[in-house]
C-alpha cells in the first residue's frame, strides 16, 4: 500500500515538474498602437493610469505578470482568462472597432463599473492595488459619459 502511494506521489511530482515546461503565452507588446483607447478618445493621463492599473492586465495587449504567473498550471489558467478578457474588450484595439461596437462597449464599460462588477472581485482578491475608489469611479464615468 505504502509503495503504491509512493509511486503515485512520484508520478504526480514528475507531472508537476513536466508541466512547468509548457510554453506560456506572453501578452506583451512593445509599441502602443494608435488604436489604443487612450488615443481614440484623448484620455487624460490620470485616467490612463487607472485603466492601466485596473483593466489592462486582461483587457489589453499588455499584461503585467506577477511572480506566481510563472508557475504552471497557474499560467495556463491566467492565459485563458486574458484571452477571454481581450475577446470581450481590448483597449489596445479599441480604435479598430466599428462605431457601433465602440458605442456598445462604452455602454458596457459604464454599466460594469457602475455596478461594481469590474474589476472582477476574484482579480481584486489577488490585486488589491487594482481597486478603484469612488472618486476614481466618478471620474471614469463622467469621462465615458462625455465621449459616449
Amino acid at each position: 500500500m505504502k509503495r503504491i502511494l509512493k509511486r503515485f506521489l512520484i508520478v504526480g511530482l514528475i507531472a508537476l515538474v513536466g508541466i512547468q515546461f509548457i510554453p506560456a503565452d506572453v501578452n506583451k507588446h512593445a509599441v502602443i498602437p494608435d488604436a489604443d483607447f487612450r488615443y481614440v478618445y484623448d484620455v487624460p493621463d490620470n485616467l490612463v493610469n487607472i485603466l492601466k492599473n485596473s483593466c489592462y492586465d486582461c483587457h489589453s495587449n499588455n499584461t503585467n505578470y506577477p511572480w506566481y504567473s510563472y508557475i504552471q498550471p497557474i499560467r495556463l489558467m491566467m492565459d485563458h482568462h486574458v484571452e477571454e478578457g481581450k475577446e470581450e474588450l481590448n483597449f489596445s484595439e479599441f480604435g479598430n472597432y466599428s462605431e457601433r461596437r465602440k458605442r456598445n462597449k462604452l455602454r458596457s464599460i459604464t454599466e460594469q463599473i457602475e455596478k461594481g462588477k469590474m474589476p472582477l472581485p476574484s482579480y481584486l482578491w489577488l490585486h488589491s492595488e487594482a481597486t478603484i475608489n469612488q472618486s476614481q469611479i466618478d471620474s471614469i464615468l463622467s469621462f465615458l459619459n462625455e465621449v459616449k
Binding site: V17, Q20, K28, A30, I32, Y70, N104
Partner: protein
C-alpha cells in the same frame, strides 16, 4: 533510500521552478519597453457624424434585400420571455437568434450597405451571445437588449421586412435613459420592465 528520493524530488521541483520562472522572465523583459507616447495619432474617429442622427431616419425602403423572418421570430420569442421575466427561456431563444443571425444573408446591397450590415450583424451576434450566456442575470440580459434592439431596427431599415412591425419606446428602460424595441403587435408588452410594468411604453413608429 527514502531520504534520497525525497531530497531528489525537492531538488527537482525547486530547480524546475527556477528554470521556468527564469525562462519566462526574460521573455517579458524583452517585451516591456515603454512606448514613446506618440503625438501624431489619428483623430479621425471624432469627425464621424454621430450615429444618433442616423438612428432617427431609419425608414423602410420597401425593397426587400433579405429574409429576416427567422431572425425576427427568434427575437420576438426572446422578448416574450423577457416580458415574463423568464431569463432562461430568453437565453434559449437568444441562442437560436444567434444562429439565425449567423446564417442571415442579404443580397443586392451597395458596398456601403454591406459594410453596415456586417457591422450590425457582428454587434447583434455579440449581444445575443451575452443574453444567451446570462440566464442567471436578467438585468444583464436587458442591458444587451438595448443595443440588440437598435441592431435589429437598423437591420430592418436596410434589408426591409414583409411584416408590419412596431418600434416601441420605453423612457424608463436603460436606467431611465430610454430604449426602443421592435414588436410585431400593436399593443405594448415591455421586455425591459418585465412583470413589474409590462405596459410601460408607447409606439414610436410603425414599420411597413
Amino acid at each position: 533510500m527514502k531520504k534520497i528520493n525525497l531530497k531528489l524530488m525537492i531538488a527537482l521541483i525547486g530547480g524546475s521552478l527556477i528554470l521556468a520562472s527564469c525562462g519566462n522572465n526574460s521573455n517579458t523583459e524583452n517585451g516591456s519597453h515603454h512606448h514613446e507616447e506618440g503625438m501624431e495619432h489619428d483623430h479621425s474617429n471624432h469627425e464621424h457624424g454621430s450615429i444618433d442622427e442616423k438612428r432617427n431616419v431609419s425608414t423602410n425602403t420597401g425593397e426587400m434585400k433579405g429574409d429576416l423572418s427567422v431572425v425576427l421570430r427568434n427575437y420576438f420569442a426572446m422578448n416574450e420571455n423577457l416580458v415574463q421575466d423568464e431569463a432562461s427561456g430568453a437565453a434559449d431563444a437568444s441562442e437560436k437568434l444567434m444562429v439565425s443571425l449567423k446564417e442571415f444573408k442579404a443580397s443586392g446591397l451597395s458596398e456601403e450597405e454591406q459594410k453596415e450590415v456586417n457591422e450590425i450583424l457582428e454587434s447583434a451576434i455579440e449581444n445575443a451571445e451575452h443574453i444567451s450566456k446570462n440566464a442567471g442575470e436578467i438585468s444583464h440580459q436587458r442591458e444587451h437588449l438595448v443595443s440588440l434592439s437598435t441592431d435589429v431596427k437598423d437591420l430592418i431599415s436596410i434589408v426591409g421586412t414583409s411584416q408590419k412591425l412596431y418600434e416601441d419606446f420605453c423612457p424608463m428602460a436603460n436606467n431611465n435613459e430610454g430604449a426602443i424595441w421592435i414588436s410585431s403587435k400593436e399593443e405594448i408588452s415591455n421586455p425591459y420592465m418585465g412583470s413589474s410594468m409590462p405596459k410601460c411604453g408607447k409606439v414610436n413608429r410603425v414599420i411597413e
